[in-house]
Symmetry: C2
Subunit: 613 residues, 2 copies
């Protein structure tokens, strides 16, 4: 087995270098701040972007400047975004939620694993080298206790996690003094009603109703609470993980840190290679965002890749193992029922979900109903003991525009709705996965049916890709679908990279996918009227009109690229204050002329009677 | 003055090399075909993508193959896309429309210019070197004749141009034999009703009603007829042209050829530098697509960049000059009325249209109403004599999400509607320009108001950009808005490149902008149910399911990039037939498993009674 950790000191040094490489470089004029909650240990991270002054030059004799106040940005980068913290990936991150979990006194801790597989594949190699491996103290609910956030919410308990996300969702907008920046077009989302001020009680209600979830495995106390629901900011997931023929463990950890730097709200570790546990352990211990998995990928490794040989017992052990390790949500393809398989035979692209195709093959070979459906209650019981959220997989999602919105797809969706009801009975947090490939005019029906059949459980979609002809640009063509469905009420968007349909994404693909999806999510927030979503737009527009170039770059979603593009044609530092760019040159800059016009309106106090026709 | 043409032979060689560099390389397995019309000279270009066979391996003893018929793609690349033609940019393209124009016997030809400025700035330097310079024979309507396509359409005449576009819009779909490829989801566009078979008569009706235009200056007989209207394929415009501080004439011609290679349906030459005429002449003589301009950019060069000094006389001469040269459509900012200027004073970003800001400044300084509005009838008279279409500019479009859909914007739009009526009275083809920066939930109102106030004249929008925070990625964030508004009934999308707001686009930016917008336009065609739009999607999906990798690349919007991304992880030629890619590896490929499932359904003829629970 490949070892990733040879020498502790060597590794510490490498880790430090690696973190440094990512930190601080890309977000100039930004600093990490923390918004405090009701107790000392509720510290909500934000990125504060500091801006330069505006030259207010009305009286030409004397230059006058006005301050531009800093802007706060929702920050998913965890400790990596805090220049003051030392990080070593073999120590893992601080377990910020551990006290909150322990304070609830509903868990017990073990030193030995319940699941069978960890030790064989992993224990010796990896956990010894990790100071903070979860295997030193595994938490589980006490007998007859449920430790899920929805359980607390339904009992009327506001957890510290709920307070954390309330502060986080408000994005510090009560601190903004410039009322003009706060002005925004109130959107009309099809399903959301977001309050002006998000309170911990509102968060509790949303979780209790099932409209929102907060993936938070008690064995992943490193994660910073975040919420997924249509009345909150639209979230973005980044898929990482190796496949059997490419990528290494180190690369995947690098992709994690890279992903959260670019704003991933959760990551899914979709590894299918040999080093599944090792990869996942390093990811979990170093991830400030919830981590999701598709457990069938690991289960099938254990039967040498032969779907027919899967058993509930093997699958169950995988669930236990991953729950103990700290996985925050599981994708479970329990809706791929035997009778639906035939419905895919007229499709152009059959079954395109890996999990879905595995389960379909299993059903056909064994002539039995999907064992995930049969054992769904047991799955819920495992989830209840660790607070693993369920992401009900759409194993029959369409893989082409041709197959969109067909019988197989919606038949499965209705089953996912049934399963949602069952999960809620067991106080399990649930979200529903969605397509796939859908042309624009058919997107709306997807969210409508999901909300109807799945009782407003959060929708979590992959794209949808709106045309099939764009391999190499599917981050873009799916980003269009993602922006639209986010506006319509989809809660989380699973990113798609430029490599979709072609190969495993590398680091730059991860960045391109995330930027496309952060734009889509933000556009959806604007359209559904999330309070304060427009502050950053207004700030960058003000900077643009005032030719504060550096501020424009710093407020951009990717400052480095914005600056680089600008500098390609006007690299001189002096041009950073120039009243034009190379697009139009100095004489043709509409912004410049427009400012002259504004001054001239002010001076002339022109009225219509002045017009000579 | 900089000369671009020093030595004829040298230049011919350079031009040939340059054309070779662009041709043939990027569209593998494609060949140019021509669909014939009712006469020999109506030859509509299409790109035929040839596909490999499908292995139908049911009987394992003997391999059986099935043909996959070729797919036809709308082709804007003109002679550059025909490997059999020799091209030299100083000869210009073949004047394919000249016979049609002459046959109508409603024009006279001149050897001298009517306009004053050409000779001074241009005649000596450039036209001598161009074999086919327009200045050797300028056409103009005979006295009291109107030579516009709308004029003919209203008289019930079906021109060869109309027949050409009817064939073009049908995209050869009557040749497709595989009925499965023809299957498509019929979209519901908000404003379109596209017939199954587009006839020349339908084209005539659409033009006569003003719902569609066909920009086709009689002095640009090199252009291949194309149509812009909500009941036709959504079109894309690429802006090219230098600014005073960057880019050269040669680069702009290169951008033209590059643009049409990537699918630009029209180009706008927005040059603002010294070599405006020279650039435009080379572009027009070598452009198979209509060319639009914003004449005010040239007019202001003639008054040394000082808006206040503009006069109607100077502007009129520019119009004449450009009409004589062959410009197919003019953007005219005649809706920026004096009384609207004050409405922009509360905006965050004032006036962001260059033309709009110039006219506003002119009005304020001179205390007069916009001279373009005052002289609009004279503008129409010029257009009628050459068939220049009018693109009524939105000088007051919003430059930020904050300013979207405001009073200034919609006040101007209503004036554009009034002007549309006037233009139609003079048998001028008209389209209406639209925003700009608009969040998603406010896009719909833009097209609704446009159709209402401008009587269904084609809408031609810049984006809209749906958030302001994405400099460096505005091709993407505006592409989202473009796809949506295209679906809602917008007829042409003006591309935005990654350099928008930052600098002048280079060649690669032009490609990125075009690909984003071709995806948006195609997605809109799918959503509005353009018959046959889905053929290419279906073909690529079939190739994907059958692991015909090369066919997937060749059917993609950018084959080179798709192949490159695939080969990054699986470069071996043998993997081009592999039943997997690096994303999932061989064991986890859902498509592969799905095929096994399909075979197993066929063999087992499974029914539900087989299920053992």
């Amino acid at each position: 087995m490949k070892k990733i950790i040879k020498n502790r000191n060597e590794q510490r040094d490498a880790a430090k270098k690696f973190i440094k490489k990512i930190l601080g470089v890309y977000f100039p004029n930004s600093k990490r701040i923390y918004l405090k909650g009701s107790t000392e240990d509720i510290k909500v991270p934000m990125r504060e972007i500091q801006l330069s002054q505006t030259l207010v030059n009305k009286n030409k004799k004397k230059l006058r400047f006005e301050d531009n106040e800093p802007i706060f940005v929702y920050d998913t980068s965890g400790a990596y975004g805090d220049g003051n913290l030392e990080i070593n990936i073999c120590d893992g991150l601080k377990k910020i939620r551990l006290k909150w979990i322990n304070d609830r006194e509903d868990t017990v801790s073990f030193k030995n694993l319940i699941s069978n597989f960890n030790e064989k594949y992993f224990f010796d190699d990896c956990s010894k080298s990790l100071n903070n491996s979860v295997y030193k103290q595994i938490l589980k609910a006490k007998n007859n206790k449920c430790v899920t956030q929805i359980h607390y919410a339904r009992k009327g308990i506001i957890t510290p996690e709920m307070e954390f996300v309330a502060i986080r969702e408000n994005m510090g907008r009560d601190r903004i003094r410039n009322k003009n920046l706060l002005k925004q077009h109130i959107g009309k989302s099809f399903n959301s009603s977001i309050p002006e001020n998000i309170t911990p009680e509102f968060v509790r209600e949303e979780i209790a109703s099932g409209r929102a979830i907060m993936p938070s495995n008690i064995n992943h106390p490193e994660s910073e609470p975040m919420i997924i629901g249509c009345n909150f900011l639209v979230k973005v997931n980044a898929n990482i993980g190796n496949s059997s023929i490419t990528s290494s463990v180190e690369e995947e950890v690098e992709k994690l840190i890279w992903s959260i730097h670019w704003g991933a709200d959760t990551v899914m570790d979709l590894s299918t290679g040999r080093y599944i546990n090792e990869t996942r352990e390093l990811i979990l211990r170093n991830s400030p965002v919830p981590v999701g998995t598709v457990p069938i990928y690991q289960a099938i490794e254990k039967v040498n890749g032969i779907p027919e040989k899967l058993t509930w017992k093997i699958f169950r052990d995988v669930l236990l193992e991953q729950a103990e390790q700290g996985v925050d949500y599981f994708t479970i393809h329990a809706g791929v029922l035997f009778r639906f398989i035939q419905m895919t035979s007229k499709r152009l692209t059959g079954i395109v979900s890996r999990g879905g195709s595995i389960m379909a093959k299993w059903c056909l070979y064994n002539k039995k109903e999907n064992f995930l459906y049969q054992h769904f209650v047991e799955i819920c019981e495992i989830c209840a003991a660790y607070d693993v959220s369920l992401s009900l997989g759409d194993g029959l999602r369409p893989g082409s525009v041709y197959d969109a919105n067909d019988e197989a797809q919606f038949s499965e969706l209705k089953i996912l709705g049934e399963l949602t009801k069952i999960a809620w009975k067991y106080d399990i947090q649930v979200m529903i996965e969605g397509p796939g490939h859908v042309p624009m005019h058919m997107i709306r029906r997807n969210i409508d049916e999901e909300l109807k059949y799945c009782y407003n459980a959060p929708f979590y979609t992959l794209g949808p890709v709106i045309t099939d002809i764009s391999p190499g640009y599917d981050h873009f063509s799916s980003g269009i679908g993602a922006a639209m469905i986010g506006w319509f009420g989809c809660s989380m968007l699973c990113y798609v990279t430029p490599k979709e349909h072609l190969g495993l994404p590398n680091k730059d693909d991860v960045k391109q996918g995330l930027i496309a999806y952060k734009i889509a999510a933000h556009a959806a927030d604007l359209a559904k009227g999330h309070p304060g979503a427009q502050i950053r737009d207004n700030a960058i527009s003000k900077a643009r009109f005032e030719f504060r170039w550096e501020d424009q770059f710093n407020l951009a979603i990717d400052p480095e690229t914005a600056k680089k593009y600008h500098d390609e044609t006007l690299p001189q530092q002096s041009k950073k204050n120039a009243n034009f760019c190379s697009m139009c040159g100095p004489k043709f800059c509409s912004m410049k002329i427009s400012k002259d016009i504004r001054n001239s309106i002010d001076i002339q106090k022109t009225d219509q009677s002045d017009v000579k026709n």
